[in-house]
């Protein structure tokens, strides 16, 4: 399952054009014209959005005109799987962190990455997770006094 570069170019340009459209629409809610006190708040963003659409359209045109000369692959199936296998656990970690706190999130993620992705032994992976949590706890809570999100479990044990 290969995705060609041209496909990706056009998909990306369409996405940026869509963002441009959203920006224009959002700006129009604030008023894009002039009144007695000068430009309305939406004036500047509206033209930003318009320029995004213009740039995206030009990129699409460029890609289409060049089509014959390039047959590069953006990503093949194997690489895509590598990326997804790396990215999905991060998403899961963030979801867990949002719910149970960053320390629990990073502990579980480190353990997963060590045990499953890097293939270390269970004991080594557990130890690494513990070290990561301890080091971060000392750096953020003690040295820089920047409290990270704790979540219900740590709060239950009286760690704020």
């Amino acid at each position: 399952m290969d995705i060609s570069r041209n496909t990706m170019e056009i998909a990306t340009a369409c996405a940026t054009a869509l963002v441009g459209g959203i920006v224009c629409y959002g700006a129009s809610l604030n008023g894009i014209s002039w009144n007695e006190s000068g430009p309305q708040p939406g004036y500047f963003p509206f033209y930003i959005g318009a320029l995004i659409i213009f740039g995206s359209a030009a990129t699409i045109l460029q890609t289409v005109l060049r089509r014959a000369s390039t047959s590069d692959v953006f990503i093949d199936g194997e690489r895509l799987r590598t990326i997804v296998a790396f990215f999905l656990p991060i998403v899961v970690m963030v979801a867990i962190s949002a719910w149970l706190g960053l320390y629990i999130g990073m502990a579980l993620y480190t353990f997963y990455a060590m045990r499953m992705a890097a293939g270390f032994r269970t004991a080594t992976s557990l130890l690494t997770a513990a070290i990561v949590v301890a080091v971060n706890f000392v750096i953020f809570e003690k040295i820089f006094m920047v409290p990270l999100l704790k979540g219900p479990i740590l709060e239950y044990f009286g760690i704020y």
């Binding site: 570069r5 990706m8 170019e9 990306t12 340009a13 940026t16 963002v19 441009g20 959203i22 920006v23 959002g26 700006a27 604030n30 006190s37 000068g38 430009p39 309305q40 708040p41 500047f44 963003p45 930003i48 959005g49 320029l51 995004i52 213009f54 740039g55 995206s56 030009a58 990129t59 045109l61 460029q62 005109l65 060049r66 953006f74 690489r79 590598t82 990326i83 790396f86 990215f87 991060i90 998403v91 963030v94 962190s97 949002a98 960053l102 999130g105 990073m106 993620y109 480190t110 990455a113 060590m114 992705a117 890097a118 990561v132 971060n136 953020f140 820089f144 920047v146 990270l148 999100l149």
Partner: protein, 511 residues
């Protein structure tokens, strides 16, 4: 020489034990950031920035700039020993650095790189010392229209001088502007582009964008390439180091040329990455030994390294004197200055001379410390890099996630950073430049304010941008720069021609 006296005062500020220690810590952190692929200078500085909110601004800026020097130096270590650039700006160093190291001359290659980098950085700092207060004085005469013209010129030069597609630069930059407008409008107090999502009312922090685009995006790229470090061993011995240092003056032509290129690219927002590629290309064309380039030619290391570092330090000149950063990292630092309550620009020279000159003095010291520390830590980092990336990658990920959270203690920001990560990955693969995005995000509000104020004073007539010689010259230059791609196309013939490969790379990975 009023500057000299002020510089001495600056040294008095910078040379306290406390600040020297901060420099050493900053350089070490920077080395880590520079050595690890996937953690670059802009991203590293963004991650550290929230931790400096409680420090006093002078210590904080010394910490951040020292980290910047460390990152610039650290990137070359991996380029030479592992053929993997730790920083986008040290890509050009791999061309000759790695071949020379493979010939058993790793120490010579490293010493060459660090010495010429040191010379480059020193040149940059001297340029800053000599020019900054002059530029600041000049800029005191600026009104809103002049400011907008300067911003316009900065952004136009990105579009005009970038090697790749100008349209992609435009899209990237305008997306940055759009991201900057999200949230409460500073002039009218209305909320813009928030679409009734509460989390967006506070705006999108440029730090989140940098962590996502440069940090997570780069990680995804590195992961995809399935990185394996196959390094060259380097045993440092004093004799080789000294002999190589003595060898450096022989390359004075290359040094001078590269330093000039670097200073120019740093002051105009070309950035270190573009500078190093340009210097390498010019070195290959003009050097008598040009045909040896790519086979382990010492001049091929000296050229990109000198330019990289002089550009890196010169990028701070427009940031300090005009409030316009010359590189993505400088943009992040400038964002930091604003968060600390300092407004970068000409006024800073008169309101906080201790800050400005302390910072400039610390640049001399910081680079000196960086040269020593980078040589001393080569064995350590060579050892760290033998750890597989499947271990290093997740560690960097955790740092990025925590970094995104600490910006404002919002979980929503972490999700945003992940989204920016995907955008960064796709953009990098498709050669969209990321530096204009960050620059636009940091400068967006200021450029818009300048524009609106100028329009208010002129009752909505754009003629104000051509009302006097100064502002019309700047606007004219800006328009010329904007048209540059068009002019080149007309000269080369054929619309939508493909850019040269080297240019596209320099441009796509601009730091």
């Amino acid at each position: 020489m009023g500057n000299f006296g002020q510089l001495m005062d600056g040294f008095a500020v910078a040379l306290t034990a406390h600040h020297v220690m901060i420099m050493a810590v900053g350089v070490l952190l920077g080395l880590v950031v520079g050595v690890l692929p996937g953690l670059g200078a802009p991203n590293g500085v963004s991650l550290l920035l929230p931790l400096t909110f409680t420090m006093d601004p002078i210590s904080a800026i010394i910490l951040l700039t020292s980290m910047y020097w460390g990152a610039l130096f650290g990137g070359s270590t991996t380029s030479i020993l592992f053929n993997i650039p730790g920083e986008p700006s040290s890509v050009a160093t791999t061309f000759d650095g790695y071949p020379l190291a493979r010939q058993g001359q790793a120490v010579r290659a490293l010493t060459l790189a660090f010495t010429s980098a040191g010379i480059g950085a020193l040149t940059g700092v001297i340029v800053i010392t000599l020019l900054s207060s002059w530029v600041a004085n000049f800029a005191m005469r600026f009104g809103a229209a002049e400011y907008f013209a300067v911003y316009f010129m900065a952004f136009a030069s990105f579009i005009g001088m970038a090697g790749g597609s100008p349209f992609k630069t435009l899209v990237s930059m305008m997306l940055g502007f759009a991201a900057a407008t999200v949230g409460i409008d500073t002039i009218s107090g209305e909320s813009r582009l928030t679409f009734e999502i509460d989390e967006l009312i506070g705006g999108i922090s440029f730090l989140i964008a940098v962590i996502g685009l440069f940090g997570l995006g780069e990680l995804l790229l590195t992961m995809e390439e399935g990185l394996k470090f196959e390094g060259v061993k380097a045993k440092l011995d004093m004799r080789t180091i000294l002999r190589t240092v003595a060898e450096v003056p022989r390359y004075w032509v290359t040094l001078v040329r590269s330093a000039l290129i670097g200073c120019w690219m740093g002051i105009t927002p070309g950035g270190p990455t573009a500078a190093s590629f340009m210097s390498y290309a010019l070195g290959r064309r003009f050097s008598r030994r040009g045909r040896n380039f790519g086979k382990g030619e010492p001049e091929g290391i000296v050229a990109p390294e000198t330019a990289d570092h002089s550009a890196g330090s010169c990028a701070l000149l427009p940031m300090l004197a005009l409030g316009i950063p010359g590189s993505a990292t400088a943009a992040v630092m400038m964002g930091g200055l604003m968060i600390w309550g300092l407004s970068p620009g000409p006024m800073l020279f008169s309101t906080r001379p201790d800050f400005v000159w302390g910072l400039i003095a610390s640049m001399y010291m910081g680079n000196l410390i960086a040269v020593v520390l980078v040589l001393a830590t080569v064995p350590l980092f060579a050892y760290i890099l033998r750890a597989p990336f499947t271990v290093v990658g997740p560690m960097i990920t955790i740092v990025c996630v925590i970094g995104a959270y600490t910006v404002a203690n919002h979980v929503f920001d972490i999700w945003l950073a992940l989204a920016f990560g995907i955008v960064g990955y796709v953009f990098k693969k498709l050669d969209y430049p990321l530096a204009p995005f960050v620059l636009a995000m940091v400068l967006g509000d200021k450029a818009e304010d300048a524009f609106r104020q100028a329009m208010l004073t002129s009752d909505g007539s754009p003629a104000i941008f051509f009302s006097n010689a100064l502002v019309s010259t700047m606007m004219g230059l800006g328009i010329l720069l904007l048209c540059l791609p068009l002019i080149t196309v007309l000269f080369k013939g054929g619309l939508f021609g493909r850019p040269a490969a080297g240019d596209a790379e320099a441009h796509g990975r601009s730091a």
